[in-house]
Subunit: 741 residues, 2 copies
């Protein structure tokens, strides 16, 4: 089920290297691999990589390339790529950075279609390295060679038809259905080590290094099509795609045949970001940008490496629940209570059982058992009692999933109980996660669970959280798509104002020009007029009713500081008088200022004050912000973010996800506000941000949201232009292409 | 350093069974133990317990009591306690619940001083069981026998002079310095299992069961004095002490020679609480009461069993940091970034190094290393480079603790690096926590760390969180004690009003009487007067300036609904007129109501509106609430709680811990409010709540907090009395003892 195409085109200036979905075959299913820099020297990376490919039982042919050695690990070696008599699909490169461009050129000549450059010494070491990296990347790009790295650990592909371990990892990956993409090589090593112990298997294991060519997005596209991959986990320090990432990944995580993606993104705090920048030369993205990006793409962000494992285990092995009504089965009260707490706390609810289920439990369990949820089969339960309870609750239509808890007690049959779960779980089509508590006594049972695809956690809390992760993903997939709203926009009108300002090197636009731009995008701007005489001021009040007057002068930004703001001017007489007073006062306070006139604008009627904003990021384009004004932004930081463009769903989310939403929905007996019109304003904001890359920052503060049906009014706005953002390429489909130049 | 005694006495009605600090010797260091119900039957609890004591190499003498058997496990048995020829200190009881009172009576006759009743079938099974439990408890109480249980797993004491495993746990505890108190027996089993695997040792391991006599408080007192115990961890479903728990435990966690206490309290959510109540018949406490209780007592609440372990490991082995400036040492960028993120996120900061440290790092590390914090010794670091880096940062006065990260890479010396840490850490007196990432390759290193008291975690995030836990405890111990403020109170005056209301069975007090009570406790109540004629109303305005008028009638609660509220009455003439109008309007709307008069109160001047409240809980006494009024309470739930009585520190905390505190401190250029006077009001509230148990609920809403130096004004209040709370015993030291009867 494809989503409709986005309402507005992506920021045309935000052009970055686009990774194509195709072309990774040479990387992931090569028939022949050359290892340039393969070596016999013990402990060298060149030897590690070559040994790993040999030991990994690669299904194709492998060619060591070494200038001097006749053979590497007994395999006939060649002095160069070109000396290899057969075609080569993929070259793994472990030579000093400075030599890699030459190797890439040779590879191009040889017809190689994929490179994995393991060598370090590129962007991460400074400008000189960055130049080499750019050269390498340009060669690859020109010759249609796809490139992993440089500065990476390599990759492991457990596909039984390929079996390629082209990495220098100490340990290999067992086959499985989890793909792992990591921006940190060292983390790869640690993750492989954990996974081995936990019996977790991987379909693909990719260290992306500096991502000169292939980054997360290209890999996600490829892995989504990979029949071996059921879930993707990623460690990310920075991403380099905004809009494209969202548009593509949203379909992968939440479209037909969805692939869940779990991410741990580090560099969250200011200090963390600094470390990231000294580490791989990443530009640390702001936290809110990344959160918006991941939410919009349906990527599940976790906070710790452990969660990455815990949730991948569940996603890799269990179906998603239809909804959030969970049953807990336990043989001990305490752990059942703890699991209940976490269950509720993570957005799940305890299922209420049908009378049939309750009756079945009553029949099978002793009288001291708890036949309500959480079901307590009591400490002396053997496997049959567990089986009866599990069978009963899985059969209940009110139950969407089960958390199964066992504590080792004297009568407990650990292995036999473990064997009860898999067939019942599979037959039900519902997710079951288990916690056999303890590390030693329960290990036999835990192994049976692992072998049979039942996620097993040491603690019931973790089991409950994993179930909640499954549910949240189900909710994302099932999300409702609301009817789109297409704002009517007069882009040429907005462009004229922006171009005029830029032509006179004006960066700051106050509300006179700001309102004109907003009006061009259909914002509910209050009637206003620039008055240049007392008579015109009087006429404005006559026409609009009570007005606010603000001085207009290119030299004056902070109008109220110089006596340039007056509100509530009710009559034409007052208007004429105030006009004169204001011009005199401002002239006295700022003799240097050239006064254009007085901006007379209708007073806004009552409403809830909200703030709408745009902030533009180099790699990600415009970030939209929404929140209630004043202290709610400044003290409570109660705002929501989305990267533009957004659709109706995005606007709804922005409005509904702030904590203060009840104030708009009509809390405390107040009348509900015109939320729909507010959502429309957010869609206008999105279009404005997307169409006009020169708008670096914009604040509508406040927008008054009136009672339901009453619409909204822009009460004040300011815009900051960035002349360098003015785009050489017109926005596709924009009528104003010629005009705007 | 003992804290000053509390400013006001505890709620005298909140009397529960007081556990004395003494008297646990028979439980923890018995010379002789009888096992009543010891059995030869395989898999029986009576056999398990007896075998555990024998196998545990108990240092004293053990006597099986069994009606029929000649011997149990080869040890000479006796048909009854009284048949034992020697004195018995402690009896472990595993007989059906109904027989336990008889056993207790026999134990009393025999001079036994401690009982551990393992048997189930008491309070947890319903009223009949509860009656037996009460009987058992009364017998013990009457004969000064201390009792653990009933319905528990027993206890384990690893003290080398005692060595008593009086439990039916499958597995015993290794000696160590962690004490564990658990309200769930099943959790005990799982915890022992984990601990065995993690090489964690326990000083005492106590399953408290139904806590008929000995509960957490008595045990905490005992364990604080126990030289083997360095940290206490608890699993709690409900506590039965409020004030006493706080007063005692605060000194234990934060006084001289502090013992840190970690708690996991379950039954957090509504559903969780329900499960708790069906489990051990606990009365589920409200979440905010428990949070206040733990915070006031300096007890560290964790959310998961895993955190309990993680933090206990740190507290048991490492000193507390002086402050929060942490250094991170890593051999890999990614994990260093992740650790940095969590470090900052958990309230720690990255230490800035002194020039000497930076110089030392520059000298010892390769040029590609990061010599700033987080220190990256680079992937090829061997143990010497790690040692040099660790030594340099530990020597820096700007560093309060170190997080040490290792990822296994090809050159990494795992064991040798582990050996580097303990001597340097010990010599520095600063806490060091480590994460050797991976489960298998690093196990040798992890074992060296464990043996040498360096807390080791699989993930750097966990290491950072554990360090943060140490810091938060250090901060609690070092907290500043502010000068106390003793509110001047006229308790007899307040009592007279309460007694008068109760005498006429009035439960709800409006602001006429409410203000009188508040005034008696020194609250800044606005001048007001009950006017019964238009002339008196006019006189009030004449005297006080602009007033608010509110109708006074015992039948009318919602005054504004019947036209009984008018504000801003500025002149005596207006006052006389409004008086007449109001009486007429109210009479028309509520002909049934008897009108006492009109309450004329000075209008409050501008200020920030806050709410102060009291809500009383059966077991814990009065809970004080503070927050900003209106939406801040209702939508943001931005409030703070403390159990009364509080001291100045508590009042400060309440005011400062709400998110909106900047609004009081003077955010956005506004003038700061009179926070000091607000704190005084909270102390008055505490005194009022503590002195007058009949006040079930109280709201001061709003209290206007004026600009600094301008004080506060009570603008409205309501009080709900509970006649059943009226206390037979006067508050100690209260002058009104006689009068208030």
């Amino acid at each position: 089920m494809a989503a409709p195409s986005p309402p507005t085109a992506p920021d045309p200036c935000n052009c970055s290297h686009t990774a194509s979905p195709a072309g990774l075959d040479a990387i992931f299913s090569p028939q022949s691999v050359a290892v340039v820099g393969a070596s016999n020297r013990p402990e060298s990376v060149g030897r590690s990589v070559f040994k790993n490919i040999i030991d990994g039982d690669f299904s194709g042919t492998i060619y060591p390339v070494n200038l001097k050695a006749r053979s590497v690990c007994g395999v006939r070696a060649y002095p160069s790529l070109s000396a290899i008599p057969d075609p080569v699909d993929l070259a793994v490169v472990i030579v000093p950075a400075a030599q890699t461009p030459a190797v890439a050129r040779e590879a191009a000549a040889k017809g190689v279609r994929g490179l994995i450059v393991i060598s370090a010494g590129f962007r991460e070491v400074g400008p000189a390295g960055a130049a080499i990296e750019r050269e390498l990347e340009e060669i690859c790009h020109a010759h249609h060679i796809r490139l992993i790295g440089p500065n990476c650990l390599g990759l492991i592909n457990t596909d039984p038809e390929v079996r390629l371990n082209a990495s220098f990892a100490r340990r290999t990956a067992n086959p499985g259905n989890i793909a792992f993409i990591s921006q940190s090589g060292a983390l790869c090593t640690a993750v492989l080590d954990f996974a081995a112990k936990k019996n977790m298997g991987f379909s693909k294991f990719i260290s992306v290094g500096n991502k000169a060519d292939i980054g997360e997005l290209a890999l996600i596209r490829h892995l989504h099509e990979d029949p071996q991959t059921k879930v993707i986990m990623m460690y990310v320090e920075e991403l380099r795609h905004g809009f494209e990432f969202i548009e593509t990944v949203r379909e992968i995580t939440g479209g037909a045949n969805p692939t869940p993606i779990l991410v741990i993104k580090s560099g969250r705090t200011a200090e963390g970001a600094q470390a990231a920048s000294s580490h791989t030369g990443s530009i640390a993205g702001s936290e809110s940008v990344y959160n918006a990006l991941f939410q919009q793409a349906g990527v599940f962000r976790v906070q710790t490496i452990e969660e990455l494992f815990d949730y991948a285990l569940a996603f890799g092995n269990q179906p998603l629940p239809r909804s959030n009504r969970i049953a807990i089965i336990t043989n001990a009260g305490g752990p059942g209570i703890i699991a209940t707490d976490v269950t509720i706390h993570s957005g799940l609810q305890l299922a209420g059982f049908s009378p049939e289920t309750t009756e079945a439990l009553r029949r099978h369990l002793p009288s001291t058992a708890n036949i309500h949820n959480p079901v307590d089969v009591i400490g002396d339960a053997r496997s049959d009692r567990y089986r009866d309870a599990l069978s009963a609750v899985l059969n209940d239509d009110n139950v969407d999933g089960v958390i199964f808890i066992l504590t080792p007690q004297s009568m407990t049959e650990i292995e036999a109980t473990a064997q009860v779960i898999p067939p019942l779980a599979r037959a039900s089509g519902k997710p079951v996660v288990a916690s056999f508590m303890g590390l030693m006594d329960v290990s036999g049972g835990a192994e049976i669970l692992a072998r049979n695809g039942i996620p097993h956690y040491h603690f019931p809390e973790t089991a409950a959280r994993a179930m909640s992760a499954l549910y949240r993903h189900a909710k994302w997939i099932q999300r409702e798509h609301h009817r789109e709203f297409e704002p009517k926009v007069d882009h040429p009108r907005a462009r004229r104002i922006i171009d005029r300002a830029l032509a006179r090197e004006q960066r700051y636009l106050g509300e006179v020009e700001g309102n004109e731009i907003l009006a061009a995008y259909g914002f509910p701007v209050l009637p206003a007029r620039l008055a240049t005489t007392p008579e015109e001021a009087a006429a404005a009040v006559n026409e609009f009713g009570p007005c606010a007057f603000k001085i207009v002068s290119p030299q004056i930004v902070h109008k109220s500081d110089v006596g340039g703001v007056r509100v509530g001017i009710a009559t034409p007489e007052e208007a004429a008088r105030v006009y004169g007073e204001m011009v005199r006062t401002v002239t006295r306070n700022r003799p240097d200022a050239e006064i254009t006139g007085v901006y007379a604008q209708q007073m806004a009627t009552a409403g809830v004050e909200v703030i709408l904003g745009i902030n533009r990021y180099r790699l990600f384009g415009p970030l939209l912000m929404f929140g209630l004004g004043g202290i709610f932004v400044e003290i409570f930081k109660d705002v929501s973010f989305r990267l533009a463009p957004i659709r109706y769903n995005g606007a709804r989310f922005m409005v509904r996800s702030i904590q203060a939403y009840p104030m708009l929905a009509g809390a405390r007996g107040a009348a509900p506000c015109d939320v729909e019109e507010l959502e429309h304003c957010l869609l206008r904001l999105s279009a404005l941000a997307t169409d006009n890359p020169e708008i670096a920052e914009l604040d509508i503060n406040p927008l008054m949201v009136h009672a339901k049906g009453g619409g909204c009014s822009v009460a004040d706005c300011r815009i900051l232009l960035d002349p360098n953002r003015s785009c050489p390429k017109p926005s596709p489909g924009s009528e104003s292409a010629a005009e705007s130049r």
